[in-house]
């Protein structure tokens, strides 16, 4: 296990701009291009001792290793996204050698080209809506309930107050989603995130991705801010611009408004995405 494997980040059209000289990807390796079939795979040399099947499986159970690897993967995709239209691959796509990478390009060429055409010039924005915790109903000093009946009455009031807040938040979420879907070319909704795992407060009511032409991104973001920025019943979180991860497989996106399938993410081949994305990013994606 002293050899090297090829970790592949993305598939793009042939790059006309070079990658930043100091860009480092997974395992600290320098990304390079494997060109074939009118496409380029962006790859890096990684140690077999870490990325062969067995060690990789063990590593992927280690959250610290996983985060480091995921951030490095994203760093390379981001650098590509600033230059071209990359189709990001699933994390930890590994080949034995460059010939294996070329074969994958060859086999997927037709679909890669089609997907690259479909997604050229688009970026993905993620929007999540959370219900804000109901204001503590009458948390102010209050006499202890005088009776069991009084206690139950208060409990009912509290529950009703919470339900009203939730209903208002849901309504606002639906309105926001419909408005954003109208601005987007494709939409994909995801299952709500579990608050215990995401460690953010409030119930997640909407978790969706929107495919938006890059030149309309500013308008899209303004719409999010306009519709979601001021209501105390909800907290709206916007992430982006992403390379169009959620639309990179041909069956995942649906056009038009509204709902899209959620749930299991397919294992289909091929996707594409694009984008370069200059705006709205001040912080480095780094540490």
């Amino acid at each position: 296990m002293t050899g090297e494997l090829r970790y592949v980040y993305a598939v793009t059209a042939p790059l006309h701009a070079s990658l930043p000289a100091d860009l480092r990807g997974v395992a600290g390796s320098v990304p390079y291009l494997v060109e074939h079939a009118g496409l380029a795979a962006v790859a890096g040399r990684v140690p077999e001792a870490d990325f062969a099947e067995e060690p990789l499986r063990a590593h992927l159970e280690d959250l610290g290793w996983l985060e480091e690897t995921a951030r490095a993967h994203q760093r390379v995709v981001d650098a590509l996204t600033a230059r071209t239209c990359p189709l990001p691959l699933r994390l930890a796509t590994v080949y034995r050698d460059d010939d294996g990478v070329r074969r994958a390009l060859e086999e997927g060429a037709e679909e890669f080209h089609a997907t690259l055409r479909r997604l050229a010039g688009r970026v993905e924005w993620g929007v999540k809506v959370y219900a804000q915790r109901a204001p503590e109903p009458a948390a102010a000093p209050r006499a202890a309930p005088a009776s069991g009946r009084e206690f139950l009455r208060r409990r009912r009031q509290e529950v009703t107050a919470r339900e009203n807040v939730l209903e208002e938040a849901e309504e606002l979420g639906r309105t926001l989603h419909a408005a954003l879907a109208a601005e987007a070319e494709e939409v994909r909704t995801y299952p709500a995130q579990n608050p215990q795992l995401s460690k953010v407060p409030g119930q997640n009511l909407l978790n969706a991705a929107y495919l938006v032409p890059r030149e309309r991104s500013d308008a899209f973001v303004a719409r999010v801010e306009q519709l979601g920025g001021h209501d105390p019943a909800v907290r709206v979180e916007l992430t982006g611009p992403w390379a169009p991860y959620s639309f990179a497989t041909s069956d995942t996106g649906t056009t038009g408004t509204g709902t899209t399938d959620t749930g299991s993410t397919g294992t289909e081949t091929t996707g594409t995405k694009t984008t370069d994305t200059q705006e709205r990013v001040h912080d480095g994606a780094g540490a």
Binding site: R71, L89, P191, N207, G228, T239, Y245, T249, T272, A285
Partner: protein, 83 residues
């Protein structure tokens, strides 16, 4: 808020903005990142060292731990049904 000093190379990646703190731009969370890197993106078949089955195995393990799915909190927009 000032941007941190650039790292060796700091590409302009996605950031998170929150309606409660609209001026603060954060690095995207690990959960959001893994949702995309493990749940979306192109899956190549062929001469993978790590086969699809292994990827799915990883995803199943991580889904329980990390990613999103909470059957008791379905998205209200799924299938157009309100909660």
């Amino acid at each position: 808020m000032t941007a941190p000093a650039p790292e060796p190379y700091a590409p302009r990646g996605p950031v998170a903005v929150d309606s409660q703190q609209p001026l603060a731009r954060r690095q995207v969370s690990l959960v959001d990142l893994l949702d995309r890197l493990l749940g979306t993106g192109v899956v190549l078949t062929g001469s993978l060292t790590l086969g699809i089955a292994d990827v799915d195995l990883v995803r199943i393990d991580l889904r329980a731990l990390i990613s999103s799915v909470n059957a008791r909190v379905p998205s209200p927009w799924e299938g157009g049904q309100p909660l």
